[in-house]
Symmetry: none
Subunit: 259 residues, 2 copies
């Protein structure tokens, strides 16, 4: 993650409205910090600060310490240019809601342009009121099980902040290749297959069967494993020991000098 | 959401290993049900059932009531064909981890083909052990703030199940392989790994070396190969012959009656 995307995330504002359980404020702080967010605003929380908030923040104390408390939603979002409200259910008269993914892309784009952006979450029991949602430019809805659609408040924050983090990674950073593996070359691989073929003969695996197809099956499974060079050595080490045992066993059946 | 994608989600298994706080089990059940999942397995939970689990399930009582409790992870995942383990940090020696999004797409594709798929989550404090992660074909890592990367357990479940739900919604006609494979179950796989360990001992592959890491490397490459049942039989056939040769060889060095 680059400095600039870290910077964007740390400027986004999460607003919790009239939260009943201080534990949810703590869990929200933790979820935010996990995803690289810092700025929390609390509108008329029932109890804050509170030991349960601190306990559930689990180390995100800095987010709690810097949280600002407001009397009204309007006060909390006054300096913001763009406000997203979250909702668990489709509302009457509501503008079509965005998915978290689309909303996150939009948030990051606007933040990148230097706008102040806020995401607002309502109370545990009823979410945002229609009047509160009206304060928001866009509604965001997490696609949930229609028969059980109400997420815990901090879980909803987690999903949204997770999407914000992904969007920030996609915004700035090109797709990074995963760490390159030291893959075996085709030559290494064929060397191994030849070794396997000889060893299987020595340990009498074929027992007179037509073995092209058997070898084919081994080939397929090892191809699928995309072996690296160390793994080829490991497997060949195993074959060498099996061969050694087979030679000793064969010498027993046909001791030197026998006919 | 179609009936068939609902059906797929309801068959996925979430496994929590040695959960300390019953509240996290309840929050997990709620997160699962919010996203349309139903099947929960608990490996040696510290306390379960427990009133705090029920309280935090907030109506997902059915998920808790049907949760199955196991003594070991191996027991819990024995019937599964494909197991994903979650991890908060990159591990030494770990296969490259998947993002939740890529993992979810893979899970849904495999579930669509009729495979049993499990997602495994470790303890609150330390996550999955390396030995537990070794039981998993793939590791999944939530891209988090590197300076504060440990999500609450139920939050991690929320992120993963959210991605599973999105993947199920996007699933229209997955890229089907020409023919579904008869993949080995985790139980079959462990049977093979036990056989390999014994055979390597018999053919004197270890030569007094500390062999846990050696086995680890074999395990990783065979996990990556996603073995089907016939391949497990093929490999065990090879092991059986190597063993036979090794026994004859050993008898040569210590013929019956020698001291």
């Amino acid at each position: 993650m680059t400095d600039s995307s870290t910077h964007l995330l740390s400027h986004l504002l999460i607003v919790l409205v009239e939260t009943s359980h201080p534990g949810n404020i703590g869990s929200t702080a933790r979820a935010m910090k996990n995803m690289g967010l810092k700025r929390l605003a609390l509108v008329a929380p029932r109890e804050f600060p509170h030991e349960e908030a601190t306990a559930l923040a689990a180390g995100a104390d800095d987010v709690l310490a810097e949280a600002r408390v407001f009397d009204t939603l309007d006060d909390a979002i006054a300096p913001c240019h763009l406000v997203f409200g979250t909702t668990a259910r489709p509302r009457h008269n509501e503008a079509p809601s965005l998915t978290p993914r689309d909303a996150a892309a939009m948030v990051l784009r606007e933040a990148y342009l230097g706008l102040n952006v806020a995401l607002v979450f309502g109370t545990e029991r009823t979410g945002l009121t229609n009047a509160e949602l009206d304060r928001c430019r866009h509604a965001v809805r997490i696609p949930a099980n229609p028969e059980f659609s109400s997420l815990n408040l901090a879980q909803a924050v987690q999903v949204l902040t997770y999407e914000l983090r992904l969007a920030s990674l996609e915004l700035v950073e090109p797709d990074l290749p995963s760490e390159p593996r030291d893959l075996a070359s085709a030559g290494d691989f064929e060397g191994f297959m030849g070794h396997l073929e000889r060893t299987l003969g020595l340990i009498d695996f074929y027992k007179g069967r037509e073995y092209t197809r058997l070898l084919q099956r081994f080939r397929r499974l090892y191809q699928r494993a995309a072996l690296d060079r160390q793994e080829v050595q490991l497997l060949r080490g195993m074959l060498a020991e099996a061969e050694r045992a087979a030679r000793i066993a064969a010498a027993t059946r046909n001791p030197p000098g026998s006919v």
